[in-house]
Symmetry: C2
Subunit: 430 residues, 2 copies
């Protein structure tokens, strides 16, 4: 039997379209258990606990809970703070002071790590704390679980953006490049592939951090697609690397190549961009001393202008070239949720409370895929906090095609049930 | 009684989320009239007519019509070609050759102009042609009509993006700038305002081409909002102008100001960007000889980095600053349609055919708002092609607040029924 006491739930890291559903799942389940007294939300995650800033979730009415669940963002506020050992000590003290015996932390692997440290402290002090990590990340990179709540909805947004961009590009043909979130792994970029139903549909090329590329290779790929279909839609992970495995807009290999292929001015432009970032303050430098240019529109502009400069002369100077950097809407657009993702985000919250109330002391909620395809079905279990905290999950090598510029059927089969069914394209015979 | 004959429908200009509904409205209505023989779609608008490239729409089955209506893009293909007098002569010849007596052209004011020229030629030759312009543009700038099919869905996408970005920014506070489509007018940027339900909600500031601004003014506005709310969400039209009424990234006034406020490197960066655009080929120059930088990420990067450089020292160098350029998804996202917009886009197509079959010879279909608010209701009528072709409609002056950095209640009342109801925000008392 669990100790009678108060409950705290917190949200951490980048918001998603469904992270509030996990909060609501936790609250609605907690309301059923008489052993739980106060139900508190930590304002801005662990930083709110450190400052003892809470919101009373027991008093929130049903309509408000429904509205919270419906919307993206992180209703309790979030944080990017990776707590130190001292912070975790302080968190424990706050818990003891407020009679908190249940803690649910919704976030990525840093959140699982924080939970596991607080957990250890509580055990050392013989304080009964039931502490659970509730998975959340559009990056889909948590260990153990089949996939992460938040990823399906972000992937659905990306797939629908690419579907729309492809239909647009069919209507007014040209080369279109879209930069997709994902600094460390290509997970989210893989979802763009679902927009393509069959040969000839875009996106025609996908590039991932896992497969470093030279400019020459990218240009050659795009030229081949453009010659074949008269157009090209290209998805590029923001974390794409050059041949020296450095981010493209930082890479010395890419700079040398750009200077040779399209002129020194492209390199001077990157350097000038670095100077401007520096003038803005707070810029970071990479191993080469280049100012880091991530989080700007430079990657889309750089690749599209290099490709245009390289290919335009071959096509009579009339290449129609556009590039977009898909932005924060990928994780926050207020009108795009994958139904299975929405359901699972709620469920991981609800299950966490049930685990806590039925004898489990700690853990991270795991989604296990039991059946895929049309019969897609999952079950839930618990992993050790330390297992989930230990690192991140890569995209399996067999999800990429051999050229490293597309995905395999195995990848599509994995993704499809997470993103949910997409609208079918009409096919007019012209 | 109309002449028995064939029908052609074409799509022109930038695709929208609902332009295919107008095609389907035309086809379904045309199928009811025995005086219409072939129902042809012109591939890529007027360019398809010039090349006699058509698709048979009578043979398209119901499922395909439904799927076409559901999706964004322009299923027949579109074009950016503004036809010359000679082109229009040739179009008429093609019509005569193919026995076409009904022509429906879905597009903006250039399409209305093309229709009116072909119309004049047909009259001169005593050839009976029933020719109708079916309105379409996310820019909402057609004359006579209350609003344009396509605008409501694009506006809904923009409003949902801002709602999501605002919830995200509430969870992880900082300054967020989003660039919205609209080179000539601020129509689409006004829709961002609907994301804000009440004081304190973002977007907190909106900037429009209609209200030129200095960098100092933008920076001062953002600083004031940031001091008040600890965060700021800002919507900026891509067509925003500097004090000299030139596009901001081209403006000499802005360059002088940037050099003074944040350093010469910002101006050198813009110049370097111009050199790179030039190297890509096909660049255009403005009156000052600057290469035009539109269609890139530079506006978002320039404004956000200027604001950061100016304000960061005042906030301990810890300003969290992000900027996105909302891209083609604004007109093409495959999962966001305003219901009234979808209905009206279908209806303007259907009505055009009914006008053609019931005695009207030519015209542009007009949407008249009969009631607004919850009882929103429209009726349809016809305007002269020449009236609609004559120019573009400005955002009324009374839709902007006196500071030119926000909208009035009159504007919100105009927009709300076009965009459709938005999800309500949950309000937790913290």
């Amino acid at each position: 039997m669990a100790e009678r006491g108060n409950l705290i739930v917190g949200q951490s890291g980048g918001p998603t379209a469904v992270i509030n559903r996990s909060v609501v799942g936790i609250v609605r389940e907690a309301l059923k258990h008489s052993g739980i007294d106060k139900i508190l939300g930590a304002c801005n995650g662990i930083t709110g606990i450190l400052k003892e800033k809470f919101v009373d979730l027991r008093s929130v009415n049903e309509d408000q809970l429904d509205q919270m669940a419906e919307l993206s963002g992180a209703a309790l506020g979030s944080c990017r703070h990776k707590p130190s050992e001292e912070d975790c000590e302080r968190v424990f003290e706050v818990f003891r002071k407020h009679g908190v015996h249940y803690f649910f932390y919704i976030g990525g692997n840093d959140s699982a790590l924080a939970a596991s440290i607080v957990n250890r402290i509580a055990r050392d002090r013989n304080y009964e704390l039931r502490i659970f990590h509730v998975p959340k990340t559009i990056d889909n990179d948590l260990l153990v679980t089949d996939h992460c709540p938040g990823f399906g909805s972000a992937g659905r947004y990306v797939a629908l953006t690419f579907l729309g961009n492809d239909l647009d590009n069919q209507a007014l043909p040209g080369i279109k490049i879209d930069i997709v979130m994902g600094r460390q792994a290509g997970w989210l970029t893989t979802t763009a592939a679902l927009a393509s139903e069959r040969e000839g549909d875009g996106p025609h090329l996908l590039y991932f951090p896992e497969h470093p590329k030279s400019l020459a290779q990218i240009i050659a790929d795009i030229e081949a697609v453009y010659r074949k279909y008269g157009r090209a839609l290209v998805a590029i992970s923001e974390g794409i690397l050059g041949p020296d495995e450095q981010e493209i807009v930082q890479s010395n290999a890419i700079r040398e190549e750009a200077e040779k292929l399209v002129g020194k001015v492209f390199v001077e432009w990157l350097d000038k961009f670095g100077e401007v970032m520096d003038a803005g303050g707070g810029s970071k430098k990479d191993a080469f001393g280049h100012v880091q240019l991530s989080g700007t529109g430079i990657l889309a502009d750089f690749i599209s202008l290099v490709v245009k400069a390289a290919l335009n002369p071959k096509f009579g100077g009339k290449l129609r070239m556009r590039a977009d950097t898909l932005g924060y809407a990928q994780r926050s657009f207020a009108g795009c949720v994958s139904k299975p993702d929405a359901r699972e985000a709620y469920e991981v919250g609800r299950r966490a409370v049930r685990y806590a109330m039925s004898g489990d002391i700690d853990g991270s909620v795991v989604i296990n895929r039991i059946e895929s395809g049309d019969k897609y079905r999952v079950e839930y279990s618990l992993a050790k906090l330390s297992e989930v905290a230990a690192g991140t999950k890569d995209v399996p090598a067999e999800f990429f095609n051999s050229a490293g510029n597309g995905v395999t059927q195995a990848c599509r089969d994995y993704l499809a049930p997470l993103i949910g069914p997409l609208p079918k394209r009409a096919r007019l015979s012209k």
